[in-house]
Subunit: 375 residues, 2 copies
C-alpha cells in the first residue's frame, strides 16, 4: 500500500432507536485492507442529496436536533413515522450515496488506480475513507477535481435516466416538476443538447427566470392563476406524454395528466366516452410534498402512475447503457452536469444542530457539500 | 332475405345538447340491407351495464329525468359535467354494447347464419334490429337462449381479461373490488375453475356471504374495523400483487397497495429506505365512487396505478387469444358466465323516468335487461 495514514478515519452513522429517537454520531473506524479488486478512496467531497437526507434523518424533524455529547446529536422520531422505520431500528447505518476523492491504497489487481481522482457510488460516503470495488469508481478526466466529481451519479444519471425512459417507453417529449433544482437544471441542459422538448414546472416566479436563463423554452409556474392554460399550451406544442414528478403529494400530478388529456383530445376529434387513446405516464420519483396524492381522474383510462427510482432503472437498462451514461457524465462534469453548492461543511459541522436545520430544509438551490478531510 | 318484417325498428338514442340537457329518445329507423359479410339480428335481450349507463346518461342525474313528449325524456347535465361531454354535444348517439338475438337477414357470404341464435358485440344494441359484420357475432350452442347470451361479452371477457393480464404481467394471484357484482361472481367462478387465488373486497357484510356461497376463500369487507388486518393476512397468504378496482375514488386503492407492501415487507427482511422491491400493480377499471383517488404513498416506489379497459386489452392480446376467450365464454354461458337480472324491461320502459331512476342506481345485484321485442 502507498501509505498508512488512512488506517483509521471518521465515519458518520445514523441510528433510529426503539424508544423513538434518532441518533447521529461521528465515530472513528478502522479502514479495511483493500481486496484484490478494491481500492481505498480518501473522500474529499460528498453531497447532501434529498435521497441521503431521508436515510440520515430517519423521519425526525431536522429543526429539532440537539447535542447529546461529543460527536452525537439526537431528535425524537414522531410516532407516525416509527412504523416506516421498523426494519432499521437499532441498526447503526452509514450514509452518503456518492462522492469523490483520491485513491490512496489499492489491491493487487487495482494498482493502476493508485493516486487517481475518482468518483464513487455505493453508500457510506460520509466518511474520511471508503474501501470499494473498482466497479464502483469512475476515473475523472484531467483537470476535473473531486468537488467537480462529487455529484456525478445521483443527479446526472437520474436526468439521463429520465430521457432514456422517455425514449424506451415511446414518448418524444417530457415534463419535469420542481424543475429549478440542481437536477432540473441538468435535465434542461441534457434536453437542449439532445434536442428533446422539456416542459418545466416550477413553484415560484423567480425559479422560472433561472431556467429561462439556461435556455428553457417551456416553463410553467404552478403558483400562477393561468397555470393550467399555460401547461395545456406547452403540452399541445410539445406533445409531451410522460412526466417525472419530485413533489408526489397534492394535485399537481393529476393536473399534469388532465392537461395531457386536454391537449390529446384537441388532436383527437370524435367523442370517446373513455377519453383519448393517448397513453399518459406520470412517474413519482420524490416526495417533497408528503401529503397524499389526489387524483381527479378526469383524464380517461389510458394512463399510468408509478414510482421511478434510479437503481431499478439502471438494473433494467443493462451494463452497456450504464457504461455509456457513466462515460457521458464523466466527460461533461464541468458543463452539462456541473453542480452548485450553497455551502461546504466538515463532518463535524454536518452534526451541528443549526447546520442540520439549514440543510434539512431542502430548499431548491441550497445544496450542501460535505468535505470530510476538513476539520 | 328471409322476410321483410324487420324493414324498420325502434332505436334508443342519447343526445347531450349545447344548452346543458340530456335527451333520450326512441325513434323508428330503417334497418340497413346487410352487405355480403353482414347479418341483421333481431335483438331479443341486451343488458344495461355500468359502461352503457355512462354513455346513456351523459353525466345527467338518473333520478331527475322527466318526460318531454312521446318517447322522449330529458334531464339537465350539471355544468361541471358538460366539459367532459364537449365532444359529443349535439350528436344523437346509439347505446348498448352487447346483446343477443336471432339472425333474420344475411348477406351473400353469410347465408349460413340465417335463423341462428347469436350473441353480438359492437354498440347500438338498444334497438329492435341491428345490422353487423359476422365477426361481431358469436353463434350460441344449442339450448342457449338469447337471454342466456345477452351478457356474453363485457363481463365474461373482462373477468377472463383480468386473469390473462395477471398472468401476462407476471403475477400469480389477484385482488378484485366491488367483488359481489355480476362480474365479481364470474371472476370468482373463473378463478375457482382455473385454480387462481382471488382476494375479494366487498363493501357490505351480506355481500361477503353471497361470495362465500360461491366458494370464495378470501373475502374482505371494507366496512369492517378489522379490514386492513384481514386484507394484509389474505395478501400474505395469496401473494397477490395485482388488483382490479371498480371503485376508483377514495382511499381503497391506496389501502390495497399499502397492504400488499406490508405483506411483501414481512417476507423481505432487511430495511430498504425505498420500500420493498416487490412490484405492486393497481388497475382502475371503473368509477363507482366518482370522488378523487387519494394515495397515501406508504407503499415504497415499486408500484404502478393505471386505467384498464377491455377493448385495449383485447386489441393488445391479439386474435388468437380473443378467439380462445370468446369460445370459452360461449361454452360456459349457462355455468361460469351465467348472468342474473333483477328485471326485464322493454325499450319504452327503458325511457320511463321511474325505471331510469331505478337502474341508474347501479346497485350491486340489481342488473336490468332490455328485451327490445317486448312492447
Amino acid at each position: 500500500m502507498a501509505n498508512t495514514a488512512h488506517e483509521k478515519g471518521l465515519q458518520l452513522l445514523s441510528t433510529v432507536k426503539a424508544e423513538g429517537t434518532l441518533e447521529l454520531s461521528l465515530v472513528s473506524v478502522p479502514t479495511p485492507e483493500p481486496k484484490a479488486d478494491e481500492v481505498v478512496v480518501r473522500v474529499e467531497a460528498t453531497p447532501l442529496n434529498p435521497s441521503d437526507l431521508g436515510l440520515l434523518l430517519g423521519g425526525a424533524d431536522a429543526s429539532a436536533m440537539r447535542a447529546a455529547g461529543e460527536g452525537v446529536v439526537t431528535a425524537s422520531v414522531p410516532p407516525e413515522m416509527m412504523r416506516a422505520m421498523a426494519s432499521r431500528v437499532g441498526q447503526e447505518l452509514p450514509v452518503g450515496n456518492e462522492g469523490a476523492g483520491t485513491v490512496v491504497a489499492a489491491g493487487a489487481n487495482a494498482q493502476a488506480w493508485l493516486g487517481k481522482t475518482v468518483s464513487v457510488i455505493g453508500g457510506a460516503m460520509y466518511a474520511q475513507f471508503r474501501c470499494v470495488h473498482v466497479g464502483q469508481c469512475q476515473e475523472l478526466p484531467a483537470g476535473t477535481t473531486a468537488e467537480d466529481g462529487a455529484s456525478w451519479f445521483v443527479n446526472p444519471l437520474t436526468a439521463l435516466g429520465m430521457v432514456e425512459t422517455m425514449r424506451s417507453e415511446g414518448h418524444t417529449a417530457l415534463v419535469h416538476t420542481a424543475a429549478a433544482s440542481n437536477l432540473g437544471q441538468m435535465l434542461q441542459k441534457v434536453c437542449l443538447k439532445d434536442d428533446v422538448s422539456l416542459v418545466n414546472i416550477v413553484r415560484k416566479p423567480e425559479q422560472a427566470a433561472s431556467l429561462r436563463e439556461l435556455g428553457a423554452k417551456y416553463v410553467c409556474d404552478s403558483s400562477a392563476p393561468t397555470f393550467m392554460e399555460e401547461l395545456i399550451e406547452a403540452l399541445d406544442k410539445t406533445s409531451a406524454t410522460i412526466a417525472f414528478d419530485a413533489i408526489g403529494g397534492g394535485k399537481l400530478g393529476s393536473q399534469i395528466l388532465t392537461a395531457m388529456e386536454v391537449a390529446a383530445s384537441r388532436k383527437a376529434g370524435a367523442y370517446s366516452r373513455y377519453g383519448s387513446t393517448t397513453f399518459k405516464q406520470l412517474y413519482i420519483y420524490g416526495g417533497l410534498d408528503r401529503s397524499p396524492t389526489v387524483l381527479q381522474r378526469s383524464f380517461g383510462f389510458s394512463w399510468s402512475i408509478g414510482g421511478w427510482l434510479l437503481t431499478p432503472f439502471l438494473q433494467k437498462a443493462g451494463g452497456e447503457t450504464r457504461d455509456r451514461l457513466r462515460a457521458r457524465v464523466a466527460s461533461e462534469l464541468k458543463t452539462t452536469f456541473a453542480s452548485h453548492y450553497a455551502r461546504r461543511i466538515s463532518l463535524r459541522e454536518a452534526l451541528d444542530p443549526k447546520v442540520i436545520a439549514a440543510y434539512g430544509k431542502q430548499s431548491t438551490g441550497e445544496k450542501y457539500l460535505i468535505t470530510p478531510q476538513a476539520s
